[in-house]
């Protein structure tokens, strides 16, 4: 497949269709965004300045018949962490771009105008569409308007927060039915980088496009069949919605809420306790029950759903739609574990409807839910919202719509800026990015990932929870202190999966089923026409590029540390601290 790169220069509103340089030919997804950012962006540049660039890249396999491979990576220098950033999401855009033969879209330059634009990409042309009337518009309304004019298009872009250059602005994406803008490449403030380019949305229309063809069809198909078999066979990724089988299809990612709680590791009240009595009320099981109840009550009018696909070709189908219990209509889609935890548990809010509404506001104004939930917890620390008061939290979040509201603006910068502004020291963050939904005191490996990943505190970067809590790959003791090897192995494999365009959740199946792991390498190697495409080697290469960028941006070992209170303050109910040594943290990259 002869892919091209679209390079948009907003300084003069032009674009070029470029050949892919030889050195990028075997890259995709995170591998490609990180390589381009490392090659073209000065690590010391102002992330909101004219020299930063934002790169959208599909995975190597996106748009092919490899299952669950339609992820889109977005990369830039992060305004939140000030290091390199990649965030990825499902939605429609990756598979649409694949059919147009476009591997990546790079947006660079400094606008010389005050106008807002959309970029429209189709088979024959790239157009700039003036869109001032869409600026500062909620994203539910925006995607609806855009689909009326560009039906079936993939949409990604910057919402209200990104347009205002706020540091917790995500890149939104429409879901396959265009009912929600919630397919977010949320983390790290990438929406603000797009905002500096005065671009609201990228609209991709794949009419007339073709599915990409593997170079070695035979090897690709062999690998694909192994991957399909592994995903279907495994108890987590397989099964069927509405039956006893298939954890993700029935309960979604939020099936984690109860288990992390029972492990005493569910961060509650801004990381004070590891157990939340109300967790069950906002868990994946609770969403499942609500969907069943409202579907029965409202029949054909009901919009609640589990077993929903976040992108075309996903066979894991972990997404959901949370319905309003009084009408059966969509409140938000999806409600993920990290979000339910951040907006719910971490703020001690256990009302499912309120948490879903908080999620909806995040999606509408264009911010990452994890950092948003941490920022609300910070606002609660500062006495601006009572703990556990969902109604008050919703009202507070709505301040984000008003550009003149200082508190709303501070909130939309994320937890670190909120803490600095409101005088709250207790902010769970690394490199400026707030913690996800696992307390690192009782689960040490995930703490090693938070500390050392190039991304700032991020669970997906090296998801050691799989062995430490969920028993994947034979299991691992969560209290063990030597976790550098485990975290490194997961960080490396993750980078490879991200580059391939696969959803990270394939890991649950392929960690347990050896054939599935073979399928991972064979699909990638087959598509690229290589005999082999070694997982650890390629994964490590991506991590080294990112690490080097961060080093040149000014990061040192001291940036690979958790906030002090995780070492000093015992977390009930197990009363443990984060006891991994600094030497062990440093060993993640020193021994790579």
């Amino acid at each position: 497949m002869n892919y091209k790169i679209i390079r948009v220069n907003v300084s003069d509103m032009t674009y070029k269709r470029e050949e892919i340089p030889e050195k990028y030919k075997l890259l995709g997804g995170r591998g490609l965004t990180s390589a381009i950012v490392a090659d073209e962006v000065d690590p010391k540049t102002d992330p909101l300045g004219p020299a930063n660039k934002i790169v959208f890249a599909l995975g190597i396999l996106s748009g092919t018949s490899a299952p669950s491979s339609g992820r889109l990576s977005v990369g830039a220098k992060s305004p939140l962490t000030r290091g390199i950033k990649e965030a990825n999401a499902g939605g429609l855009t990756a598979t649409r771009l694949a059919k147009l033969g476009i591997k990546a879209v790079i947006i660079e330059g400094e606008p010389k105008h005050e106008d807002w634009y959309h970029i429209y990409i189709s088979k024959d042309k790239v157009e700039f569409i003036k869109a001032n009337e869409h600026a500062n518009m909620g994203l539910y309304k925006l995607i609806d308007i855009l689909w009326q004019k560009y039906p079936k298009s993939g949409l990604v872009g910057a919402g209200i927060a990104g347009q205002r250059l706020l540091r917790n602005a995500g890149i939104f994406g429409n879901n396959p039915e265009n009912t929600d803008p919630g397919r977010y490449a949320g983390r790290g403030g990438l929406g603000a980088v797009l905002g500096t380019k005065k671009i609201i949305a990228i609209i991709t229309d794949d009419t007339g496009g073709e599915r990409p063809k593997p170079v070695n069809e035979e090897l690709f198909k062999k690998g694909r069949d192994k991957m399909v078999k592994a995903l279907k066979e495994h108890a987590i990724t397989g099964g069927k919605a509405g039956t006893d089988e298939g954890a993700l299809k029935n309960y979604g990612s939020n099936v984690l809420q109860n288990i992390i709680n029972e492990a005493g590791a569910l961060p509650t009240k801004n990381f004070r306790i590891g157990y939340f009595e109300g967790a069950k009320n906002i868990s994946g099981e609770a969403v499942h029950e609500l969907v069943d109840e409202t579907n029965e009550k409202f029949g054909a009018d009901a919009e609640g759903e589990y077993g929903h696909a976040c992108h075309p070709g996903c066979i894991i189908r972990c997404s959901n739609t949370v319905p309003d219990k009084n009408t059966g209509k969509l409140i938000v889609s999806p409600l993920e574990y990290e979000t339910a935890w951040a907006l719910g548990t971490n703020c001690t809010i256990d009302n499912l409807e309120q948490v879903a509404m908080m999620n909806r506001i995040c999606n509408d104004i264009g911010i990452d839910t994890i950092d948003a939930g941490n920022a609300i917890a910070v606002a609660m620390e500062a006495g601006k919202i009572p703990w556990g008061d969902g109604k008050a939290a919703i009202e507070f979040m709505k301040k984000g719509y008003d550009p003149d509201d200082v508190e709303g603006t501070t909130f939309m910068h994320g937890a670190k800026v909120a803490g600095d502004t409101w005088g709250v020291d207790r902010v769970a963050q690394v490199k400026g990015q707030a913690f996800p939904a696992y307390d690192p005191r009782p689960i040490r490996g995930i703490g090693v990932t938070y500390a050392t990943t190039t991304m700032g505190a991020d669970h997906t970067a090296g998801y050691t929870i799989a062995p430490e809590i969920l028993g994947s790959a034979g299991g691992a003791d969560p209290r063990e202190l030597n976790k550098a090897d485990l975290s490194r192995a997961f960080q490396s494999t993750t980078a490879y999966i991200d580059q391939a365009g696969y959803c990270l959740f394939i890991a649950f199946a392929i960690l347990d089923i050896a054939e599935g792991m073979e399928g991972l390498e064979e699909t990638v190697a087959g598509f690229l026409g290589k005999e082999k495409y070694n997982i650890t080697e390629v994964g490590n290469k991506i991590l080294k590029i990112e690490r080097e960028f961060n080093k040149n941006a000014g990061f040192t070992k001291e940036d690979d540390r958790l906030p002090k209170f995780f070492r000093e303050e015992k977390l009930p109910p197990h009363n443990v601290t984060f006891d991994v040594t600094d030497e062990e943290l440093d060993a993640v990259f020193e021994k790579m």
């Binding site: 954890a247 993700l248 029935n250 984690l256 029972e262 492990a263 005493g264 099981e285 929870i465």
Partner: protein, 79 residues
């Protein structure tokens, strides 16, 4: 002796009538193992993928003690 029991996700059907996360007090014989409890509810061992006793991972051979909180999950993943 008595222990406390919770089951989640697809295993909750073995505790009919309970709410999500509801704890059930059950009487068991002295020196019962977790395997004995699985047998009692006819739960295949492979479906009891993640087992906590008082918040700590245990295997099916574990011998239960008075008032232990036993929590059983099927194979699940997410995050």
């Amino acid at each position: 002796m008595n222990i406390r029991l919770k089951m989640y996700a697809s295993l909750r059907k073995h505790l009919p009538g309970t709410e999500i996360g509801e704890e059930v007090k059950i009487e068991v014989e002295q020196d019962s193992t977790i395997m004995d409890i699985l047998d009692r509810y006819t739960i295949e061992e492979s479906l009891a993928k993640i087992i906590f006793v008082n918040g700590i991972h245990k295997t099916v051979e574990y011998v239960l003690e008075e008032n232990d909180l036993l929590v059983i999950f099927p194979p699940i993943g997410g995050g």
